[in-house]
């Protein structure tokens, strides 16, 4: 029989709950400007290079361009991607 009770408070901090709506996706990469984003983590550039080659082979893209920036992404790089890309692939983790 459970006789004793211990009331405790939740230690976990709340998240702000406003969420970001994802960007509109194109139906195809044909005619699109493709960005490749590398944050200098070793090897990520090689992966993106291969992804860029394959996208060029599969689609009639307007451009494929590599961007790199230390973390967090530099404002100048963010601005360039915003102006020059429709889609982007990032190699940012380990």
């Amino acid at each position: 029989m459970m006789n004793d009770a211990l009331e405790v408070l939740n230690p976990v901090a709340d998240m702000p709950s406003e969420m970001i709506k994802s960007a509109i996706r194109p139906l195809s990469l044909d005619g699109k400007r493709v960005g490749l984003y590398w944050n200098y983590k070793p090897g990520g550039n090689h992966a993106l290079e291969r992804v860029g080659e394959e996208i060029k082979a599969r689609f009639n893209v307007t451009s494929v361009k590599m961007y790199s920036s230390p973390r967090p992404v530099l404002k100048s790089v963010l601005e360039a991607v915003k102006n020059e890309c429709d889609v982007i692939v990032g190699s940012t983790g380990d």
Partner: protein
């Protein structure tokens, strides 16, 4: 990647196996839990170009889908910000109170809320007492604490302090520590990287001023424990770890991707032994008066023991220079906006006395140790020789220079920070830092009736940026 999404560019991320949960967590805390990603079987680090290219080939189709198919919305996405409320309570039942407490500990451990040791029960009464020790309102938001970017309210900090074993008068120290972390720019003090990195980085509290004696914080022998002498240090450091977990949402495997881990993460709270120091104290160097109580937070990377019983100051400083000469290739890497070149000398009173007797000021120590922290270029740029694109432009010359040439690992004397601490012997410690120490913040939120903390309630929080080394990057 989420910054690109916010800019209207459809994005997809390449993620290594084992990092999926961390990616989902990071995407969630940055408010886009449905960010598309595709998984490769290995991390790219330590793999050849050919291996990396082969790893990514099978997922190219998934990457294309990520850019061309809208990710399904997550329930609750685009909802309005909820109103902040006081912490919810939960009741555990048992045959007796101890049984209920054990059940609470089991539950908190299962949920990942514990550091692994038994927790003090954060009862409403204990939390209320903790909150009374602080002049701030329970729901005051100090900021969003990385890496999870959750809302760091005074109440949530107090709850975690209680769980760590803090007494009410300890809580203002932790509230001030979180303020110091949140007030310092990410480019100087990268909380997210220290918390989340695959490296064994940890947070160091450094306490100065009258609060050290008032609270019984140990600045002498065995301050870092274990046991009775450092018990206040232990609970203060432990509280910051629990705050990083439950407020910063840096949980092992989910916001903390440490490869091996380190016991330094459990608790690391230092206090300067100001009575034994021949020089002005750390906080005095930063513009505070000796009678002001302050908190500074450092991002530790590792700690090296510096033993030297020599009686000559230059020989002693050479030993320190040897410790400082351990290079980190990452200090030359362009990918890191923040700096990995700072270090912290924990100087024992004996070492301090000997060095000071020879006439060295802190400035003199900095200049000597930096100038003698020599290592061959080949040690410093070893990892970068195979990826020259990743090296900072100002260090490109090292790729073609004589690789045996000795250059100072510590390029700027102001990258060396120091405080006198510990017991009476010729043994000190040296820590390499991630980022530079935070802005030092005075403890001004201690309620007067606790009678123990800080220098009493002051009308405004004083923050003073370190007068040295305001320039960033080598």
């Amino acid at each position: 990647m989420i910054e690109f999404e916010k800019a209207g560019v459809a994005s997809v991320a390449i993620v290594a196996a084992g990092f999926e949960e961390d990616t989902k967590h990071a995407a969630t805390v940055f408010n886009m839990p449905n960010l598309p990603y595709a998984v490769v079987p290995h991390t790219f680090t330590s793999r050849t170009r050919e291996q990396v290219r082969a790893d990514v080939e099978p997922i190219i189709g998934e990457l294309i889908k990520g850019m061309t198919i809208s990710p399904p919305p997550v329930p609750g996405q685009l909802g309005k910000a909820k109103e902040l409320q006081r912490a919810q309570s939960e009741t555990f039942r048992g045959l007796h109170t101890y049984d209920a407490w054990e059940k609470m500990n089991e539950a908190f451990m299962d949920r990942g809320w514990s550091d692994g040791f038994p927790l003090v029960a954060p009862t409403p009464e204990k939390v209320e007492a903790a909150l009374k020790a602080v002049t701030k309102a329970p729901l005051e938001v100090l900021g969003q604490l990385a890496p999870g970017n959750a809302l760091a309210t005074v109440e949530k900090i107090a709850i975690n302090c209680v769980m760590a074993g803090c007494l009410p008068e300890h809580v203002p120290v932790l509230v001030t520590a979180v303020e110091a972390m949140l007030k310092t720019p990410q480019s100087e003090f990268p909380i997210r990287t220290i918390a989340q990195s695959t490296g064994p980085h940890f947070f160091i509290l450094l306490i100065n001023g009258p609060v050290v004696k008032r609270l019984g914080i140990n600045s002498g022998m065995c301050m870092l424990g274990p046991g009775k002498p450092g018990r206040v240090n232990t609970v203060l450091g432990r509280a910051l770890r629990l705050i990083m977990m439950n407020v910063g949402h840096s949980y092992p495997g989910n916001g903390d991707m440490d490869t091996i881990g380190t016991p330094h993460k459990y608790s690391f709270c230092l206090a300067e032994n100001e009575d034994a120091s021949p020089w002005p104290a750390f906080h005095e160097d930063r513009g505070f008066r000796k009678d002001q109580s302050t908190v500074t937070v450092l991002g530790g990377e590792d700690v090296m023991h510096v033993k030297d019983y020599n009686s000559h100051a230059d020989e002693l400083l050479n030993t320190w220079a040897c410790a400082a000469a351990r290079p980190r290739e990452s200090q030359f890497e362009a990918r890191l906006e923040f700096t990995e070149r700072h270090c912290f000398m924990m100087i024992s009173p004996d070492h301090a006395r000997i060095i000071a007797e020879y006439g060295y000021s802190k400035r003199g120590i900095r200049e000597y140790v930096a100038a003698h922290s020599l290592a061959p270029i080949k040690w410093i740029n070893s990892e970068l020789r195979n990826r020259p694109d990743a090296i900072k432009p100002q260090w490109r010359w090292t790729l073609t220079a004589d690789q045996e040439m000795l250059i100072p690992v510590i390029q700027d004397p102001d990258d060396i920070h120091m405080a006198v601490m510990g017991g009476p012997t010729g043994k000190s410690d040296f820590a390499r830092l991630m980022g530079r120490p935070t802005i030092t913040v005075e403890i001004t939120c201690a309620a007067a009736d606790t009678g123990k903390s800080g220098a009493g309630v002051v009308s405004a929080t004083q923050t003073v940026t370190d007068p040295v080394n305001c320039e960033s990057e080598v």
